[in-house]
């Protein structure tokens, strides 16, 4: 514990070194070093200008990191978490002084150091079952401290008991020189673990690299599995194999960077066309295979078919469905306006007609959804003048004839409903971004809440929810995507009693939307998780600038979630110049709305997915919807798409509803960076 005394007198400007108050405060100790859980007391002494102690001075204590180190009003300090922190001790302003100066009369900062807890455990884990001479397996170590936290921030020192048998580098890679027994040690500070490994004769005499195909396209994932065999030709299990790839891109592709990759398990994918050689190494044995990669060539043009222009306000989400009268309709919301929802007849996408509109007490109708039978639409309200918000249930069976308001449901949804989903007779409605409530609308005139789901994490927040086959997938920013059984997950979950299946969070913390999809071509269950992010700031202080588009970031994360307990992020679709928004996947094609200036993107997601889908040439089409008369002119801002009956409908924030379609492919498509 530090033992010096902090002494500060507040020096008022222009007072020639004399403060009007003449107070000083001394705090002992002036600095602290505390272990986690340790406590100490601060003692403050206030003196006047003459140096005399002011007995009745009020002293205020507070911590700038109260969850890490706390201090009571009497100066008792307790350490809770490691780090460097600051406590403040001050004497408040004189009550009779009415100057507009909110400074304390005297104030001192007390630094507190809480060291990281000592390491308590170092342990080898996932140790291979067999060690063959001549190979290079890697050893993994788990380090924990005295409070049980996993510690990846401390360097582990590895050593070998017999370097003639085995050596080990600082990453834990072994080089097994000879047969025999050796003790390998991992140490951190005073803690260590010793592993005795038996190195056996390496029976491998050959390494093969079987291959099913020697030609593929960019983006196709090829699986290589090296097979080590002994002198009798039998496969030797447990031999560690390293994979590498080299090769040449097509002659017209110059300075392509890294055009291909291979994973540790032998999965290979190329981003650029060319000729690539896969190298497998096991000890002294190697095997190679060479494959030819052709351009994926999926690009197609987009044709604008029709529009439902909305220029006097911003648009939000959409839903397209077949009405009970057999005609096709779209519903679109509006943002930051006066609570309108528009209904469009899109039976003939070339002649989109607005057939109805509903206005509710709201500024924003951010989300709109329609039941599978087309009878009921549900919209979420934000900015209601009575601050009750909630959802509004509409009769949507025949929008041309009318769209009656069937009911409103605001109970415990007063903070605003940013997103909704309709699944059967249930509405999943977000409540102020904190949780989602599940509301039974079997009788749409009498909605009734039957369940809810909320995370337990500190500061949790939910932005979206999507239900598919009895599983609700919510998007929760830093908490990532959470899958919840509401009837189809096999854990007995129901809308009344949701049961979590699993969750997956990724590092950037921008998870904003999610679309669950089972791949038609592979049967894999992929979760396409989209970001929304504004890392560049962009809020303009000028009213004119406020109508300009702003810069966004974020991408689509592809998560292989075939096993609820083992979600793996396997691929991304990242457009360099724009940030992602809403997603739809159908028939192995992904449709994504991107914020300015990315527009609508259509992406081939067939086959196994791995790596950077954008760079692999999987983009089928892009369409950027400019409108010089838009709410913000020529500021494309695609909110979200929905493929429907051969067309792609999407809303644009600044210009309303669009219908486009992919043109037939008539020849080789153009992919920037690929030869033509």
């Amino acid at each position: 514990m530090g033992l010096f005394v902090a002494c500060v007198a507040l020096m008022a400007r222009g007072q020639g070194g004399q403060t009007p108050h003449g107070l000083s405060i001394e705090v002992a100790p002036g600095a602290l070093t505390l272990e986690i859980g340790e406590a100490a007391h601060l003692s403050a002494t206030v003196r006047d200008a003459a140096g005399d102690v002011v007995d009745d001075a009020t002293v205020v204590y507070y911590s700038r990191a109260r969850r890490s180190v706390s201090v009571t009003r009497t100066g008792r300090v307790e350490a809770h978490r490691p780090g460097e922190f600051t406590l403040i001790v001050l004497v408040p302003e004189n009550p009779g002084d009415r100057r507009r100066r909110p400074d304390a009369r005297a104030r001192v900062e007390v630094p507190v150091t809480v060291p990281l807890p000592p390491i308590a455990e170092v342990a080898f884990r996932d140790v291979p079952g067999v060690f063959y001479a001549g190979t290079h397996p890697r050893l993994d170590v788990l380090v924990r401290d005295t409070v049980g936290a996993r510690r990846d921030d401390v360097p582990v020192t590895f050593s070998s008991g017999d370097t003639s048998v085995a050596t080990i580098d600082r990453f834990g890679y072994l080089t097994l020189h000879d047969t025999g027994t050796v003790i390998v040690t991992a140490a951190v500070d005073t803690e260590s673990d010793a592993l005795t490994i038996e190195i056996v004769e390496n029976p491998v005499t050959a390494l093969r690299l079987p291959m099913g195909a020697d030609t593929a396209r960019t983006g196709d994932v090829l699986r290589f599995t090296a097979v080590a065999t002994d002198a009798s030709g039998r496969e030797v299990p447990g031999v560690p194999v390293r994979y590498a790839v080299g090769g040449e891109t097509a002659p017209a592709i110059v300075a392509a960077g890294a055009p291909a990759q291979i994973a540790a398990d032998g999965r290979f994918v190329a981003e650029r066309s060319g000729t690539y050689t896969i190298i497998a190494t096991a000890g002294t044995h190697t095997a190679t295979r060479t494959v030819s990669i052709e351009p994926r060539d999926v690009a197609r043009d987009v044709e604008v078919v029709g529009r439902g222009r909305v220029l006097d306000r911003r648009s939000s989400d959409l839903w397209v469905w077949e009405g009970t009268d057999g005609r096709d309709y779209a519903i679109t919301g509006t943002w930051g306006a006066d609570g309108h929802t528009y209904f469009w007849d899109v039976t003939d996408p070339a002649n989109i007609e607005k057939v109805n509109e509903v206005q509710v007490d709201a500024r924003t109708v951010n989300d709109v959804k329609v039941s599978a039978d087309g009878e009921v639409a549900v919209i979420g309200r934000e900015g209601a003048s009575n601050r009750r918000n909630g959802i509004v249930v509409l009769g949507a069976g025949n929008p041309r004839e009318g769209v009656p308001v069937l009911s409103e449901f605001t109970n415990q949804l007063t903070g605003g409903v940013h997103n909704v989903f309709v699944d059967g007779n249930h509405v999943y409605a977000l409540s102020a971004g904190r949780r989602y409530d599940i509301i039974d609308i079997e009788d749409p005139r009498r909605p009734e809440r039957v369940g809810r789901f909320e995370l337990e994490t500190q500061g949790h927040s939910v932005h979206d929810v999507w239900v598919s086959d009895g599983i609700a997938f919510s998007s929760n920013w830093t908490d990532g995507v959470v899958a919840v059984d509401v009837g189809g997950g096999g854990l007995g979950g129901t809308p009344e009693r949701p049961v979590e299946l699993g969750r997956y969070a990724y590092p950037n913390g921008w998870n904003h939307a999610a679309f669950p999809y089972r791949s038609r071509s592979t049967g894999k269950f992929y979760l396409f998780a989209g970001d929304e992010a504004y890392p560049y700031g962009g809020l303009a202080n000028d009213a004119d600038e406020a109508r300009l588009p702003f810069r966004t970031a974020g991408w689509i994360h592809v998560i292989d979630w075939s096993d609820w307990d083992n979600p793996r992020e396997v691929a991304r679709y990242q457009v360099p110049e724009a940030g992602s928004h809403n997603i739809w996947v159908e028939d192995d094609i992904m449709y994504v709305g991107f914020y300015y200036p990315g527009g609508l993107r259509v992406v081939d997601v067939s086959g196994e997915l791995m790596g950077d889908l954008y760079r692999q040439g999987r983009e089928i089409a892009r369409f950027v919807p400019f409108d010089p008369e838009g709410f913000a002119p020529n500021a494309p801002f695609v909110w979200g798409p929905q493929p429907y009956k051969g067309h792609i409908f999407f809303t644009d924030y600044n210009s309303g509803l669009w219908a486009v379609r992919l043109e037939e492919k008539t020849g080789p498509g153009r992919v920037i960076g690929e030869p033509h």
Binding site: P92, E93, R100, P102, A104, G433
Partner: protein
């Protein structure tokens, strides 16, 4: 309608303005234009904007609009606003969050963003202590659950939350005593006035306001130690003696008294009537409402009186796509002297400075 301790009053409609307080003298007509210029910051909750409004010799005008928040296409809801007692910075609560709201700090004049701090659910009203410089914000929690919420204390130099004190259900209104050592707020759904020891970060006293009463506001205490508290759902304002910790008088008001401010001399209380679309001017010596003005747009929300007691600025939320409005009243005459539109759902308002 009854006023505590007084008789029944009559009123006369005069072209949209209703006068109360028969027998009370009113001063002469307001000046054609003010000699000085007054500046206020105004929140537009459904446009994520703060407007700097000036009322001066040229009338009322929006000098500047400052976009606030972090997500350009999420409505984040600037709700409460206050200027630091030193006048160098202003603070705005961004009520909707992910899910926690925040308070953002800006420099007055340049209106450049300085920093922010994440607080609790729906931080609403806030105030800054002249004793310590600490900011106090109530976490209103408009998220639907009737559960106790909190008051946050923030060190504004570093924008760090240094304390969070449990208070009651849906705390609102946040005003410090003149010496900055006591903080007052009300719990809308707990029905009480709460005194917080602002230096020790502990609740000191609670004053129940009556069964079922839903208070929404408490004023900065007067020099005499009096605070005024709204009974929003019962159309009353309670006059509270903070020293004795009891209600002295109860004023029957227009429907939905929501925000209040008192002239610095303690003579006049100005009240917004959220459900009544009106503004009330109360003579505090007599306890009579001397005037009630129908507002030019619906849903009056905030009110702030200039330090010289000459003018009251009132915000009107409006409905749907309507703009918000700032009305300027001449306090001595209770006459509306000007209006200016701002962004949608004008709410929180704070006085910045006087020029001239």
């Amino acid at each position: 309608m009854r006023s505590a301790g007084s008789g029944v009053f009559s009123f006369v409609l005069l072209g949209g303005l209703a006068w109360w307080g028969a027998g009370l003298p009113t001063t002469a007509a307001p000046p054609d234009s003010p000699v000085r210029s007054y500046y206020v910051y105004v929140c537009a909750e459904s446009d994520d904007e703060v407007a700097l409004v000036r009322y001066g010799p040229g009338g009322a005008e929006v000098v500047k609009t400052i976009r606030v928040g972090s997500y350009p296409n999420e409505i984040e809801g600037p709700h409460g606003i206050e200027v630091d007692p030193d006048g160098r910075h202003w603070y705005v609560s961004i009520a909707h969050g992910l899910p926690f709201g925040s308070v953002h700090k800006y420099e007055t004049g340049t209106d450049l963003w300085v920093g922010d701090v994440t607080l609790g659910l729906f931080p609403a009203t806030l105030d800054v202590s002249p004793a310590t410089g600490l900011l106090y914000a109530v976490n209103f929690n408009l998220h639907g659950g009737m559960e106790p919420s909190s008051i946050s204390a923030v060190e504004v130099e570093t924008m760090t939350e240094v304390a969070r004190i449990d208070t009651g259900v849906m705390p609102h209104g946040s005003r410090l005593s003149r010496d900055g050592r006591r903080h007052y707020s009300v719990n809308m759904m707990s029905g009480d006035l709460v005194e917080l020891d602002a230096l020790g970060f502990e609740i000191a006293r609670r004053l129940p306001l009556g069964a079922g009463v839903q208070p929404t506001w408490v004023t900065t205490p007067t020099a005499a130690g009096i605070a005024y508290v709204t009974g929003n759902n019962v159309a009353r304002v309670f006059e509270v003696d903070l020293g004795a910790w009891r209600i002295l008088r109860t004023f029957e008001t227009g429907a939905g008294p929501y925000n209040l401010d008192v002239t610095s001399d303690g003579s006049t209380l100005v009240a917004t009537y959220k459900n009544g679309d009106a503004v009330g001017f109360w003579d505090l010596a007599s306890g009579r409402e001397r005037a009630r003005m129908t507002t030019s747009r619906t849903i009056p929300h905030g009110v702030v009186v200039t330090p010289d007691g000459e003018y009251a600025f009132v915000t009107l939320e409006g409905v749907g796509g309507e703009p918000g409005t700032v009305e300027v009243y001449h306090v001595p005459t209770a006459e509306r002297v000007d209006t200016v539109d701002v962004g949608k759902q004008a709410g929180g308002i704070a006085f910045w400075k006087t020029e001239g």
